[in-house]
């Protein structure tokens, strides 16, 4: 199982001829990801790492079954390229691009919703279902197949925790980062929901950050719907308190947003609290009675 991608998922890379796209095409293929097509306007007919390149997504879907896409398209072109993905009916897009404007991003998410599609990102490091497939930056050697699902906001933090888990002999079902916002596609809550439905995932590790209300929303879902154990770590406990923008930020966030507020809600929801990757390992071992 795992969530979102597995050994059968056929993936298209948007922006495959760019530096990052080409490198990740190589790493992903080496890992075993089924990269079946790439798209870069004007480069149709070329090949990158043995993957055929098309000018248009519509040409790629005529030639291949595509289950998911990962985009390395620059922010300037992101909105159009996302719409191109959703218009052909692809239902899952990993959007690694950073620097997409907030207004473009709300348009992209609104459009995805009209098509029933999911976006991971923007600015996401992507995801890995260890031993099966990866779409994004997760360094393969830091992961091993298993039954712990890891959700992070930040990419590097999901590497850090994956590395610690793997070194401790704890395997993962899927590890992913939702990206840094301020406007997201999939949220931590959305991913918790998927892990809840995934029989292969036994324990969920939820990695949060100060600011925003995403962890609070996940906590609410956990309280009301989740029946799997959760370990959580909120980073930024030592960070200075940020200033909110105008009154609107304060009105929206209310008393939420601080590490203390998030931890309190997650604890109430039944999650175990860790303050370092090492503590995450300890708690999981305890949960497993090891």
């Amino acid at each position: 199982m795992a969530i979102l991608i597995n050994e059968n998922t056929q993936i298209l890379i948007q922006g495959i001829t760019g530096k990052s796209g080409a490198l990740q095409a190589k790493v992903m293929k080496q890992y075993g990801t089924k990269v079946v097509a790439g798209v870069t306007p004007g480069r149709g007919g070329q090949e990158v790492e043995g993957v055929p390149v098309y000018d248009l997504v519509s040409e790629a879907v005529r030639a291949h079954r595509i289950d998911a896409a990962i985009s390395f398209v620059p922010a300037v072109f992101a909105k159009d390229s996302c719409m191109e993905i959703f218009d052909v009916g692809i239902k899952f897009l990993v959007l690694t691009t950073e620097g997409i404007t907030d207004h473009d991003m709300v348009d992209i998410v609104a459009y995805a919703r009209t098509k029933g599609a999911r976006i991971l990102g923007p600015g996401t490091a992507g995801l890995i279902s260890p031993g099966k497939s990866k779409a994004g930056a997760h360094p393969p050697r830091m992961y091993t197949e298993g039954r712990v699902g890891v959700i992070s906001k930040s990419g590097a933090l999901s590497y850090e925790v994956g590395k610690n888990l793997t070194e401790a002999g704890i395997g993962q079902s899927t590890v992913l980062s939702v990206g840094g916002g301020p406007v997201w596609g999939m949220t931590q809550k959305d991913v918790v929901e998927l892990f809840q439905a995934d029989p292969e995932t036994e324990i969920i590790v939820l990695l949060g950050e100060i600011g925003g209300t995403m962890e609070e929303e996940a906590a609410e879902y956990i309280t009301n719907h989740l029946n799997k154990p959760v370990v959580t770590m909120i980073v930024g406990r030592a960070a200075p308190v940020g200033k909110s923008l105008g009154h609107a930020g304060a009105i929206i966030e209310g008393n939420k947003g601080t590490a203390a507020a998030k931890l309190e809600l997650l604890q109430k929801a039944g999650a175990r609290i860790a303050s370092s990757p090492r503590e995450i390992i300890q708690i999981i071992k305890e949960m497993r009675g090891e």
């Binding site: 709300v106 609104a110 980062s177 997201w184 406990r237 009154h247």
Partner: protein, 378 residues
Amino acid sequence: MKLFEFQGKRLFKEFGIAVPEGTVFTASQPLLESMAAPKVLKAQVLAGGRGKSGGIKVVRSGVIDQEALNGLFTQIIEDEPVQAVLIEDMANILQEFYLSMTFLGSLATPVLIACPAGGMDIEEVAHNTPEKILRIHLNPLTGPSDYQVRTIAKEFGLKSSKELAHIINQLWKMFRHYEASLVEINPLALTSDGLMALDAKVVLDEKAAFRHTAAYNALLAEQEDILQTGEEVSSTKGDTITYVPLDGTVGLISDGAGTGMLTLDLIKDSGGNAANFCEMGGLTSPEVMYKAMEIVMANLDIKSLLVVLIGGFNRMDDMAEGIIRYRQDHGMRVPMVVRMCGTMEEVGKEMMRQADIPTYEDLIEAVRNAVSLAGGNA
């Protein structure tokens, strides 16, 4: 990019939203003729809470002269010396409302926030009587609907929604056109001349600068003119580096916000204090690594430098190149602790080895070492 009130009001005016007549004066620009009351003098600062800090003076009678202005120019509001003052006509206020547009990030939707009780105490209203605050999700593909305007007009107790519809529709157009992260009118006042924006808080999305180069640059240049005698702007521009100065002695560079904050927590848990937070983003070049070191090392309080790298899209060979080049060009006046792993880590570590810079594998060990080298507890 936060705008000054007068800049925000200029954008309102451009979009046909009524604002009081007014003129801006900078500290270096004397008031040539005295002006007749009633006027409102408003310190132009980017910080919030201006009203409660005495940054607004209402002169109901007599004249406004240089002395009245100087009373504001000598103020410092939340560490920000007042460098400009807006002198405005006084409006005849019948009622004050609150109106803003921003984003609900995790729902990925624009939201219109409205409250029939606007003014300085809006946050208290939000806290004490949250049911008074309308949060109306706006569909980015269609904008505000008439029925949404009617919903607000009813809550505001307005007989006709026509004028409010104009303001909301124009505010939406401005919000979209300039790609603002926030447009806030507090108070939106019902005056004897109709609805009027008595304040303006506008924050533009810097990521959108590529699409609005001329407009954003003009606003920025204007701000720099006003702030020139003030403090240096601490954040860097033009790349993905986030830099926040702090009080401690451990210089910190990370290639991810999450691991940066985790390291900040671990430094504190180890009894140390970070001198800053400096995060480079998850996809950067040797040049960015080099520049991050320049920025962090410019702080003379630093006793050790901790570089935490865990590469996904970032390549460790690129990071090693940036570090080594910086050391060649500038030397290192404090000890450096580098934790390096992830994409291309063999190549990066080999480069570091040849440059004789040790690298760490374990984060906690690296943190403790850096704290200890800075004279902390660990």
